[in-house]
Every structure is written in C-alpha cells, then in structure tokens.
Symmetry: C2
C-alpha cells in the first residue's frame, strides 16, 4: 500500500498563507510529520494563482525535499506548475494528475515521460465525471493506452477511479469499488489510487466512513491512497488491511505498530 | 447485512453456568441487549454435555423467545440438540451448522427442511479445513447441490467459507475474501456468512483487525455475520458499510445511528 500524504495543499488557507509567506518551517514540519506517520510520497499543491504557481511550486519542492527523504507528488491542474515542479524535483516524482480530457492527456503524459516520472490518471474525460463502473473502466483503458503510446511504464501509472459522495448518490460507493476490481483485472501492473474523503462529503461521521471505505477498497485491489497520514485511525486501517491481505510478512509491521502505540486506542 | 448475535454461547463459562443453573434473567438480558444493538438473529449454544444438551437447548430457545421478538440461530454440533431446539422454536430458525462431512450433510439438511428452517453451511468436508479459495468454492458448490436435493431453498442457505487466522498463515485472509466473492458469483441467491473473530486469533489489536476484515468482507459480498453486537465499533462498521455499498437508502439508517450516538466516539 502506497500512502500519499495530502496535507500540504493550498486549498487549505493555512497552507496557502505559508506558501505565499515562504514559511519554510511550517511546510517542512508538515512534511516531516507525514513521513514519520508513514507517507511514501508527500503531495505538494500550492493553490495559488496560475501566474505565480510555478514559482511557488519550485519553492515547495525545494523546501519539502530539504526536509524529508521521500519523493513528492507534484499536484496541480496547471501544466506550467507541473513542469516547474518536475524540473526542481530530485529523483522520481509522482505527477497529480492527468485525465482523459483531450487538451491535457498527451501534453501531461509527454511531460511525465520527459522527466521519468510516475502519474496519477483520473478516469475523467471531456464528457465529465463517470457515473458507472463501466464508464470508469473504459476511461481507464483509454488512459493506459495513451500512457503506453507516450512510453510511460504500466508500473508508473496510478489510475484514480474517482470516489463520489454516497450521501448524494447512494450507488456511487459500489460503482467505485467494482471499478477498482475491474481496473486491477483488466490492466495488470497498473496501480489503483484514490483520494478517499470525497466519498463521505456532506455526511456525518466522515472519519468512520473514510476508514471503512479504505478497508473495502483495499479488499477490491486499491494499492495506493491519497490521505491524511496524521489520521491515526485511517493509518491503523492501512496497517491492519496489509496484514489481513497477506501484504505484511508474518504480520511483523502490524505487531510493531501495535507495540509502538501507533494503532491507537480502539484496538 | 444480517447480524447474528453470538454472545449466548456455552463456550463462555458464564453462559454455561447460566444454562446449567437456569438463570433465565441473565440469558434474557443477553438476548435483549443484542437485539437492541441490532441483532437480526440471536445465536443459542448450550455448550453442555451431549446427554443433557437437548434439554438445555429447549430451555434456551424458550427463554430467549420469551424475551425477544427475533428468530434464533440454533447452534450445536449435536443433531439431537438441533432437533430439540427446532421443535421448541416458533417461526423460522437458522440452524448452525451443517458441513459437507458425509455423516452430517444429509441428516442435518433433512432436519432443516423438515422444520422449514434456514441453515449455516460450513465449507468443510471429511478432508478437513479448506486452505485455498478454490477448495472453499468447490465445497460451497457441493453444499448448495445437497441443499437443493434436500429441498432447502437457495435463499435459506448461508455459506460460511471459514475465516482462518492470518497471524498463523498470512495468506488465509485473502483466500477467504476471494472465496466470498467467488461464492457470491457462482451461487447466486445464497448468502455468505462468517464468524469474524478467528481471523485475528493470536494477534494483538484484535478488535481493529476484526473491524477492518468485516469491511473488507462486506465489499466482497459477505451479507451476514456472526459477531458480538455489543462491540459498538464493529456495529458502526456494519452501519457504515451498508451506507457505502448502497444498501441504506438515502443513508437514513446511518444518519439516524449517528444522531442517536450509536456510532461511537471515533467518527
């Protein structure tokens, strides 16, 4: 299970202010806390206006890479910011994200390939957000074909079948989960990733819903997630899920996490 | 999701003493608490010696049916105790359990059919406990064929693919989960049930493992579970899982459970 820490995101006012004010200590601390809690990648999203975003992204990449030893997930809808972030990044980055929208697909994949990066690919095309399992799988195939044409290795492709709010559309949880399994079956070697928290949008008890949904998605084949690693209950589910799926030899990581108190109090 | 409350089980010393001492108040209270917490069936297992077990089972059935309005799950390895329990039971009981062991298969299914009951069928035959997904599915098919021959309706069959301890054999969690999905696919209309707690045998943080495994199994198609309904964290996962799988229209049960405080504090 690959964990992408989501906390350095300019959609949060506090993070955006830290980016604009160049508060390196704040950003470095957020990075270190996430890595200590188990993040494999640290997502960086500046969240600033398009004009200044490339510079902000370079500053973020340099600041976070000075603080931690993990690769970054360079997160922007702005190709100029992705390019600037990739140029500043040392090692193999993860790009967040491409989609099957025509204007973005090939340019972003070329950029990914040019920097030897990995990429999150959203099952979204010019007709909008997918509703059904089948739509998600069809777009995933299109993404995988385009990645192959661009020379991006299957192992560098992280498909995100886009979790939607079950509180608004009750059937979207099952549609997503079946898409996870379908993508794992039809695109062997590709990873399946998601941002969890959309599923619980506008519902109470969101942390419980997110935890339960993460366990469900892991059982269906999800092998990466964009989440808050400081949510100890969520990370406990990652750890338990790996042990239960046979991904933790002799359950040693799980037992170690228990002994060090990382599984929390509800055990 | 069908919840079978497991607390009235003579393997617990306190319950066995209550059975032997005919402590109706204790048994009735255990039954009421489980039903209030959401049990759809109340399991009754006397746990006493074979000779007296039929009488004890009759007393249990009468005592619990006087206390609650839910059907019982009549639980014994002893056909005489199952028969006595079924004769005493009002309404449609669930029998726990039959297996594909030759000496038990047809006699117990005939008893089930004779009383119009439902039955838990373990994927276990004379060669012992199954190791692989394929063994579990093969035995499930054998059970379904025997049930059909005996005239037990598919909807009255609850297949238990037998969860085994991941701490002892790391691959058993995944083998079980794939069997849940395989049985749902190959035997449409049959239910899939399990006793959860074996999966965490000899591990620390068992409640966390059991909760996570329940979510995983629900995602794979488990639609019934034998568990302790007084474990609020586990029942919160049942409730969240139903909402996430589209089994809770408009998420009304989930929202109601939240408002009444039944989802606990880790939300």
């Amino acid at each position: 299970m690959i964990v992408v820490g989501e906390r350095i995101n300019g959609n949060s006012k506090r993070v955006r202010e830290a980016v604009v004010g160049r508060s390196a200590d704040f950003i470095a601390r957020e990075a270190r806390l996430q890595v200590e809690a188990g993040a494999d990648y640290v997502d960086v999203n500046a969240g600033t206006e398009a004009e200044r975003e490339p510079d902000d992204m370079v500053w973020l990449v340099e600041t976070v890479q000075s603080a931690v030893d993990k690769p970054l997930c360079i997160d922007s809808a702005n190709p100029a910011a992705l390019r600037a972030g990739l140029q500043a990044h040392k090692g193999q980055a993860l790009v967040n994200s491409v989609s099957a929208e025509e204007a973005r697909l090939e340019p972003v994949l070329d950029l990914v390939k040019g920097h030897g990066a990995r990429v999150v690919a959203l099952t979204l095309d010019d007709s909008g957000l997918p509703e059904t399992t089948e739509q998600r799988i069809a777009i995933a195939r299109k993404l995988a074909e385009a990645a192959e044409r661009a020379g991006v290795a299957r192992d560098d492709l992280f498909i995100d079948p886009l979790a939607r709010a079950v509180g608004l559309e009750n059937e979207q949880g099952a549609a997503f989960l079946d898409a996870v399994a379908g993508i794992r079956d039809s695109l062997p070697g590709a990873h399946v990733i998601c941002g969890l928290s959309n599923v619980s949008f506008q519902m109470p008890a969101r942390r419980l819903l997110n935890r339960t949904f993460l366990a469900m998605a892991m059982a269906k084949g999800l092998d990466a997630a964009i989440l808050d690693p400081l949510d100890a209950g969520l990370m406990a589910v990652v750890c338990a899920g790996k042990a239960l799926l046979g991904q933790d030899e002799m359950c040693l990581d799980f037992i170690q996490a228990y002994r060090s108190g990382r599984l929390g109090t509800q055990t």
